[in-house]
Symmetry: C2
Subunit: 262 residues, 2 copies
């Protein structure tokens, strides 16, 4: 069974999708085989990896309503050893479609349990990364219930701090009710701008509040990270040498080191 | 009756809250009396205007479930002529609370129809601004149904473009089913960074696609805008001379000019 990491934060625009795309690519670069599950109806992770609308015939919607399994829904990306189950706006209707069923919170977990036959480069997947929408709705709950651990992208901004305690409460609630194995892998600080004091201050506040949970690696604000998706590529393929790509490579080795410690 | 403008965009982190706070302050600075309704469970607009947790005894949750009217829920802010109905995390439960009732999409509209007795500086409110969460859920639908017009904050980033057509479809759908008077007041480009080509490219793309709907005023990326909320103040009170504050003052005069043309 692969390790399942969910990228969650109900605050919008903090770097969940950018982290999902570039961390997946970096993990693949150091030898892992990665499947991304895009459960955000916006489908930014799918677009950022170059999956056209036509390539999303079968999507994470089908996985959640039980009309497809992982092998049927996953598509390879242009990144070696990275596959994705893409998303479409159909996901907006999933809450309606499954709200009445008693297993509505376990749909994604159960779908991922049936992925043994799915191979990437002829071998089983070692990591699954799940990209969430900016809310604590049934899609994000499904991702938290399916996960072994949560990776929290946190922007170095004042408003981002405000939502952190709510997110931690939700994770604890899921752990104590629906998914006892759920832990926090770590908190990754994003869009750090060394020219502005606010970034420094938020970083210091979060490190003092969260301690070792905060990764040593801090992702800098770097325009190459926001340019890459318009070419349908992760930053590591668009510009490997840029500060953003290098930070995600460091993050990948730190994630693996933490996984080994478990 | 005041003019009701809703700030909506399901893409996260594009500047909805920053625009709600600073446009409200700028409108008040040019003589309007403004009420903000915070319907985002994160409560960033409430925090950014200095409303403590204790000051949110009655909130937009109570408005939506019918346990309070505007006069009972609104509190004055430190900004002259700006009041707010604050929000709390209780809002996360509102969908459950009102999902079964047939008027669930009209709760906010009906609550705002009953605000005649609510006065700011002894006079009726002239503008209501509604700040939405980053999703197209029942809270955002309530805000679109209650509105006369929508103001769309759009970040100068590639991913922000992707969600625009979906948002426009949703607005059109609400207009044709639940709120025939709903129009688009305009699209305001935010976090424009003149140092990077991507900003320029996105601005050009949006102007060619949306034409006159795009305000002439473009909000620059300006760190003072993101520092101000940590002091519980709008940027106009924190640093009136900064580029961000000056842009929001220009936006306010442009919004009024468009309103007058109607
Ligand atoms: N380190 C960075 N430096 C510069 N830009 C970044 C960085 N990380 C992300 N971005 C850009 O900031 C915007 C927000 O990032 P992203 O879309 O990944 O956040 P998100 O949390 O997934 O948003 P949402 O809440 O809408 O899902 C995007 O336009 C992205 O390209
Ligand atoms: N023009 C700007 N320049 C610099 N920073 C900005 C600007 N506008 C907003 N910000 C900052 O960017 C972040 C996102 O903005 P904001 O929270 O207003 O967006 P939002 O759309 O309301 O987010 P959400 O989708 O989570 O509700 C905040 O930390 C804010 O302080
Ligand atoms: Mg995203
Ligand atoms: Mg907001």
């Amino acid at each position: 069974m692969p390790r399942i990491l969910t990228l969650a934060n109900q605050k919008g625009g903090v770097g969940k999708t950018t982290t999902a795309i570039n961390l997946a690519t970096a993990l693949a670069a150091i030898g892992e085989r990665v499947l991304i599950i895009d459960v955000d109806p916006q489908g930014n992770a799918s677009t950022g990896l170059g999956i056209s609308r036509a390539g999303r015939e079968i999507s994470s919607y089908d996985l959640l309503v039980g009309e497809s399994d992982v092998a049927g829904a996953a598509v390879m990306t242009d990144v070696p050893n990275v596959a994705i189950v893409p998303s479409t706006m159909d996901l907006l209707g999933v809450e309606l479609a499954i709200a009445a069923s008693s297993d509505r919170a376990f749909r994604l977990r159960d779908a991922l349990r049936g992925m043994d036959g799915f191979l990437v480069a002829g071998k089983p997947v070692t990591y699954v990364l799940i990209d969430c929408p900016p809310s604590l709705n049934l899609l994000t709950i499904n991702a938290l219930v399916a996960a072994d651990a949560v990776l929290v992208p946190l922007q170095c901004e004042f408003f981002a701090l405000e939502g952190l305690s709510q997110l931690l409460q939700t994770i604890e609630h899921i752990r104590s009710t629906l998914n006892p194995r759920l832990s926090i892998q770590g908190v990754v600080m994003t869009m750090f701008d060394k020219r502005n004091n606010l970034s420094e201050q938020v970083l210091t506040d979060v490190r003092s509040e969260m301690g070792d949970l905060v990764y040593d690696t801090v992702i800098p604000r770097n325009v190459r990270l926001s340019e890459a998706p318009s070419y349908g590529k992760p930053a590591l393929l668009y510009d490997l040498k840029c500060a953003g790509s290098q930070a995600y490579l460091r993050l990948a080795t730190e994630v693996i080191r933490r996984e080994r410690r478990l």
